[in-house]
Symmetry: C2
DNA sequence: TAGATTGTTAATCGATTAACAATC
DNA sequence: TAGATTGTTAATCGATTAACAATC
């Protein structure tokens, strides 16, 4: 039986499963099952079993899943067995929050370089790093073999910076600018737009 | 012909359409069409026309859409003709970035109160506001008639705070904590988890 | 009128769920 | 073995797209 390629939407849920497994482990739990994981995430148990089945069989019939084992498997599948160095572009308020975000390290990522164009910011410390001149973006990214970037620059600068990142070898961009980036085939982009999320929810609020 | 209720996934794209219309307007454009909007968002023109059709007919046959008119209609549909006061819980690095985020005001939202439990933070200024004791959460939220909150607290505090928010009248939560909140029917939650997004993209990166 | 683009229908595609045989 | 839960299939559900009549 040939296994169908996992749809992107299923891949996108794997990090949630990983998150739940980490939580379970922190609670001292050693086994779980698709029903319990589903409850914690508001998903059906069938969906969880189906998503996992794209990648293999990780459970034991009648007994569920070993928390540590499934967690390790998901980390392997998601390419998280190494620490990915990440370039952060933009050292404004958001850049500061991201540079100080404690969860990257334990999750497989590490901010390895921070850039800005503002002369007042260049040279200043940010977390463990020093803000570098964005003019040196390509150079530093190539030197450090960075393939993941976080874009925290103003909307009007985002597309240009994205193109420079891609030219320098970046293949995944977490984009905080409210712009749909145009990138070549093979480059992944995920957009984070809190305003769009708030507006989405506002639709359901009662008019007062 | 009875109009089918708009699916949530279509509602969630309306803010993107609104964003594009604002951009077009900033560029001085007065008309557009579904093809152009689709190009800018990486969506098909059919999808845009279909999404809009759940709410009415906003275009002109042969001529496309009037930018300002469609923008106004989307603002009306999304309940953005008023400024929604928003409670921000958590005055850490992320809270600071959010309190200083310039885009809320022009988008229909305004951070109206900031809370934290840390005595070192309570009383300190944050943007135009003063950080208040989280003990007074319910009181302030009720007083100000706040129904939208942004949760920027540590994961282990998130569920408890969410319950207090809901009890105080909040009906929409933008959740930055890496936890799937359990909330009653009728309360909307949107989760923002940059780590999950990075992990999603890491799946597609070449193993090195 | 000719040309263009909407709004809508129907077809297609893909994702979720229900159900259950497999199996520990 | 009895009980439990997986992994997988097939059915269902829902979203997207193609196509085109409507219409300015």
């Amino acid at each position: 039986m040939v296994k169908r390629k996992a749809p992107d939407i299923a891949v996108g849920r794997l990090p949630l499963y990983l998150r739940v497994l980490n939580q379970l482990e922190a609670e001292g739990r050693t086994t779980t099952n698709s029903q319990e994981m589903g409850n914690r995430l508001g998903l059906s148990s069938a969906q969880i079993r189906k998503d996992l089945s794209y990648f293999g069989g990780f459970g034991r019939y009648g007994a569920g899943y070993d928390v540590a084992y499934l967690r390790d498997q998901l980390r392997r599948i998601l390419n998280l067995e190494r620490i990915w160095p990440v370039a952060l572009v933009g050292a404004g308020h958001l850049g500061h929050a991201l540079a100080n975000y404690g969860r990257f390290g334990e999750s497989g990522f590490e901010i390895a370089a921070v850039f800005d164009t503002d002369p007042a910011k260049i040279g200043q410390p940010l977390g463990d790093l020093i803000v570098q001149d964005a003019a040196r973006l390509e150079e530093v990214i190539r030197e450090q073999g960075i393939v993941i970037a976080i874009l925290a620059v103003p909307a009007q600068a985002a597309q240009t910076v994205a193109e420079r990142l891609v030219a320098a070898g970046v293949r995944a961009i977490l984009n905080y600018a409210p712009v749909r980036l145009q990138v070549p085939e093979g480059v992944k982009v995920q957009e984070i737009d809190p305003v769009a999320r708030l507006q989405h929810m506002a639709f359901y609020l009662f008019r007062k």
